[in-house]
Symmetry: C2
Subunit: 138 residues, 2 copies
Amino acid sequence: MPEIDIASLLKNYGLSITDARKMVLSAFVKNRNALTQRDICNFTDTGFDRVTIYRTLEVFVEKGIIHIIPSMDTIKRYSLVRSINNADCYQNHLHFLCDNCEKTICFDMMPVPSISLPAGFSVKETEVIIKGTCKDCK
Amino acid sequence: MPEIDIASLLKNYGLSITDARKMVLSAFVKNRNALTQRDICNFTDTGFDRVTIYRTLEVFVEKGIIHIIPSMDTIKRYSLVRSINNADCYQNHLHFLCDNCEKTICFDMMPVPSISLPAGFSVKETEVIIKGTCKDCK
DNA sequence: CGTACATTTGCATCGTAGTTGCAAAAATAA
DNA sequence: TTATTTTTGCAACTACGATGCAAATGTACG
């Protein structure tokens, strides 16, 4: 039963269990792509208010359940945090942006090569955005 | 004389030479960090209209003079295209985001390791965003 | 150098993503 | 079940960015 998993997942993150949160979290669990507030409102078509979705996404980011994917336009995109952290606990995220279907596909399971920076720069997180054509569009 | 360089640079890109374009381009040439429309309006304090700056940035992106840096918020950030393209003409961009001073620093001169994706995905451009603390803030 | 045409700029206006305050509703704890 | 805390929904607001159009500026050519 997925319902139970979602609810206990919320509990594990120290969040109270509400219909909106269950809905948003399962949207991410079921979907490999990045999601926007609009995606979530439209796709599931449950009648939650925009503001509720915004606030739910905000809380999920604070708790480290999802993260914001850097993007070129002015729309915030989110995806589940599934990255393999390396020995130093840096977070690495890898996403693919298809310039045809415009989907953002998560490749967090793939290793991101570490990049050495000049002295004095400390690294907390690495985001790799690869642009091109995805396998469904080619 | 920097004026002349800027003007001929515009000409080389097939653009007519106007005060607004000279101002915006020199802002990028003089600045190693990423710039927003607001940065450009505030920093130089020449009285160009917001819209003029937006349109200038748009034209510069089309001509390949600057590019949009993926970001986590809803503000568009731009920086000069200075990347070394590899043999296959992929564009690689590397930027550092300081979580203290919030500057976006361009490291386009550094090589970006190539990442192999599953079959069927073709790569046109790679954007690497490294988050952490910059050398001035540590 | 001055005129004619093309391009760019500024103003007003609009669209939309995201935010905030507050009262009602729902969740948690006792 | 009740009391307290948290979350939700509504309304209103902010800010970035986009668009249409007339005035101003740039370019090309005689």
